[in-house]
């Protein structure tokens, strides 16, 4: 049985295909369209998944969407009702999209799938956090585990706890919007001048440069944190519940100034704020996980949701306990929801058993497209690149030699990774030892901020010699301190970005200023090719790890195709490209290679749907319908209302117009398009006016009435006496309804 999981329409769309519970293929749409975090329907990713499985849509038994759109709409309406009248701008801005598209998601999904051909399979819906929980538990190696999902928001839940046992997932408790750890972190991300939904990593990377001097202020003013990890946000400081802004003027006053401009100077103040919110996040995650452990008594924890990509918090939770071990879904964000939705349908909806496998069922997260030797060579030849073909051992040896010489290598092999991390198949590699390697790759190859650290990909059998964390970290989701014997002290006077100038270890490029590293352990069983390469480097250099960063430049998705890789290689200061069996050396390339590969930027999404084609049938309908409307409106209705005689000349003119359209339809084409454009213009003017009227006459009074009756879906009231803000989760709902 084949099940297709989809995530779409918000950010990071993806498709996943499972067959009889086994994961066959997963991919994010952004990799194909080259639009970072592309929210569009995952047409390309779906096509790839079907192709990888060798089937058409007719062989898919169920399609599962990763969220319940009507529950999300309920949350959005209730937010407006609770906060009216101050959410008017957000209401006017967001409602047209909901009323035109998002409410009709069933139809939209079916239409998009129909474009892929074949009869449409039944459509199911997984609740957002259920999809996250399924993505965390079902592929994990544990027969039984506690599951914790932490993200910005799905439908209502922002935090949810589950008990996974066999093929059953039982919801335990949750915390709802707007009290969200993900949104709290995102609010600080925006305040520090980084983009919400993609800049959170940067804030995490910035934290070790600062001092957590605002922790108490955050705990005193912004959140009421209970011992069990549940909390209430003070919405006087946050604007994300109803508007597009994340923080209020009061927030800015509390932290001594307005938000940093996106490319503005990074000051010590921003680093201290980053360090503070990171510390608070770690504390909340630790308390929530400890509560779940205390209540379930389970030794293993599975994590998913965007917050589970905070590898610093993950590393500390793993080190400090209380769990024996933790497994995290490598695509912990919304892309992973596509996989979770499909797995939930198989195990929960269809009640099929589960057989946990070791080390897990994710196949190293190498679930994306692969390109054969012929395709790669054709790409290289057509682009006019000069290349050599080598056997795998010789290629590994040559790349290891180049790395040892301080050269930076683009490494493109096998199936693409699923999730935000490049794990050694679409990676840029370097020698971690030279102190200047970090800034060189950051500034000349990735074109990104110099403070951002790189991750080491280390031979699993040598991990314990270098890192405090001895357990596997195959997906780069845990940060671990280096062993003390490898660490060099940081001068006491070093502050802020100045810390970058002091190498903290012999592998400086992968050691963050606090002496930690975002570890990827590379195992011969799950990642034999990458393991062999690092072994070759180790034999030459004595160093069992390489710098591993994603194969892309700032603001672009990770490369997918050989052409993407060659283009990225040609446009940057990368020295060598190892792509399949081929080696491309920058020194051998013609100077015009980059221009030849320059691709036009992806076309922007059209603001409005294109005008319909002017077929004779449409033009006749246009003439008849406008004539009828003129007669009804101006010839009959208005004269009747104003007690004027029926204007016969107008009716005659309308008749002539209709006759013209019937006899010479194509001559109306310019008028037809002009009229439609006029209609669109009127819609742009009228729609906000109508929405404002609806908001003022219906939403606001209804909201006031609800509040007067004591209803507050935002649960803003703090209760110092309460032990917890958690609430029991409802039972897992059926999957055949979009709510």
């Amino acid at each position: 049985m084949n099940i297709l999981g989809l995530s779409a329409f918000y950010h990071d769309s993806a498709a996943a295909l499972i067959r009889d519970g086994e994961i066959i293929a997963c991919a994010q749409e952004e990799r194909f369209t080259r639009r970072k975090n592309d929210p569009a329907f995952p047409r390309h990713a779906t096509r790839y998944c079907l192709q990888q499985a060798g089937i058409g849509l007719d062989a898919v038994d169920y399609v599962v969407f990763y969220d319940k759109p009507l529950l999300k709409f309920d949350r959005i309406l209730q937010t407006h009702l609770a906060l009216a009248p101050r959410t008017l701008p957000a209401f006017v801005r967001s409602m047209p999209v909901w009323l035109k598209e998002k409410l009709f998601q069933k139809r939209l999904i079916r239409e998009r799938l129909a474009e892929l051909g074949g009869p449409l399979p039944p459509l199911l819906f997984a609740a957002h956090h259920a999809a996250h929980a399924a993505s965390a538990f079902y592929p994990s190696p544990y027969p039984e585990a506690a599951v914790l999902c932490l993200d910005g928001v799905g439908e209502w839940a922002t935090t949810s706890a589950w008990h996974g046992h066999g093929h059953r997932l039982t919801p335990l408790w949750q915390q709802d919007f707007p009290h969200s750890l993900g949104l709290l972190y995102s609010a600080f991300t925006a305040y520090c001048g980084f983009r919400v939904n993609s800049g959170e990593y940067k804030l995490m990377g910035l934290a070790p440069y600062g001092e957590p001097r605002h922790v108490q202020r955050i705990l005193d003013e912004l959140i009421d944190l209970k011992d069990d990890g549940s909390f209430r946000l003070d919405l006087n400081y946050f604007d994300f519940a109803g508007t597009r802004r994340m923080t209020t003027e009061r927030f800015h006053r509390l932290f001594g100034g307005p938000p940093r401009e996106p490319e503005g100077e990074l000051q010590q103040h921003h680093m201290d704020i980053a360090a503070s919110i990171q510390a608070v996040t770690e504390e909340i995650v630790h308390r929530l996980a400890t509560t779940l452990h205390r209540e379930t008594g389970l030794d293993h924890l599975c994590l998913a949701g965007g917050v589970a990509l905070n590898c610093v918090a993950n590393g500390k939770l793993r080190t400090q306990g209380p769990y024996r071990d933790i497994w995290i879904q490598p695509a912990a964000g919304d892309a992973g929801g596509a996989l979770g939705a499909a797995l939930l349908a198989w195990h929960h909806h269809l009640d099929r058993p589960r057989h946990p496998s070791q080390p897990d069922a994710m196949q190293g997260a190498l679930l994306g497209p692969e390109y054969d030797t012929d395709t790669i060579e054709t790409t290289l030849r057509q682009a006019g690149a000069r290349y050599r073909r080598l056997d795998p051992d010789a290629l590994d040896h040559t790349v290891a030699e180049a790395l040892d010489q301080g050269r930076v290598v683009g490494w493109f092999q096998g199936r693409a990774e699923f999730g935000p991390r490049a794990l050694g198949n679409r990676s840029i590699l370097g020698d971690p030892r030279p102190p200047e390697m970090q800034s060189r790759i950051n500034l000349k190859i990735k074109f990104r901020e110099s403070f951002r650290p790189f991750a080491p990909a280390v031979l699993a059998e040598h991990q314990a010699e270098w890192f405090e964390m001895e357990r596997p970290s195959p997906y780069m989701l845990f940060v671990s301190p280096l062993k003390a014997q490898h660490l060099r002290p940081l001068p006491q006077q070093a502050r802020g970005l100045d810390k970058l100038r002091h190498p903290r270890s012999p592998v400086a490029a992968v050691t963050h200023v606090d002496g930690s590293a975002r570890l990827q352990s590379v195992h011969p069983q799950t990642h034999p090719r990458f393991h062999r390469l690092i072994q070759a480097f180790h034999r030459r250099s004595g160093c069992p790890m390489v710098v591993n960063t994603s194969f892309n430049i700032r603001g672009e998705p990770i490369v997918l195709t050989p052409r993407d890789a060659l283009r990225c290689f040609a446009r940057t200061d990368m020295d060598l490209l190892a792509i399949g069996d081929f080696l491309v050396d920058k020194r051998d390339q013609p100077p015009e290679l980059a221009q030849r590969l320059d691709a036009p930027p992806p076309p922007p999404e059209p603001e409005h749907p294109p005008l319909p084609e002017a077929t004779p049938k449409r033009l006749r309908q246009f003439a008849l319908s406008t004539a009828a409307a003129v007669v009804l409106l101006f010839g009959l209705l208005i004269p009747w209302l104003t007690a004027h005689p029926i204007p016969l000349w107008l009716i005659a003119a309308a008749g002539a117009w209709a006759l013209w359209g019937l006899l010479l339809p194509t001559s109306l084409t310019p008028l037809y398009h002009g009229w439609l454009r006029f209609g669109l213009l009127m819609g742009r003017i009228t729609t906000p006016v109508i929405l404002t009227v609806v908001y003022c006459l219906l939403v606001t009074p209804l909201g006031w009435l609800r509040r007067a009756l004591g209803h507050d879906p935002m649960e803003r009231r703090r209760d110092p006496q309460a032990a917890s803000y958690r609430r029991p989760s409802p039972p897992l709902s059926g999957m055949d309804k979009p709510f």
Binding site: L70, L71, D74, L77, M95, P96, W98, L99, K100, L103, F104, K106, R107, H608, P609, L611, P612, Q621, F622, S625, T626, A629, L633, Y672, W675, L676, F678, G679, L680, M682, G683, I685, T686, T687, V689, I690, L691, V694, L698, V699, L702, R706, K737, P738, F739
Partner: protein
């Protein structure tokens, strides 16, 4: 559209959101206008009525 109306009704019943129905109804009518409006020759007439 009928499928959506049925889903919204089932949702209101199962989640005890009957009080939300008037607002949903108005928004649905508005949605119909927004969906039918663009690309239709009648759009300028319909918008004029408002």
């Amino acid at each position: 559209m009928w499928e959506l109306i049925k889903d919204l009704w089932d949702f209101a019943r199962s989640h005890k959101r009957y009080w939300l129905l008037p607002l949903l109804l108005v928004l649905l009518l508005l949605g119909a206008l927004l969906v039918i409006g663009p690309g239709s020759a009648l759009a300028p007439f319909v918008y004029t009525l408002f």
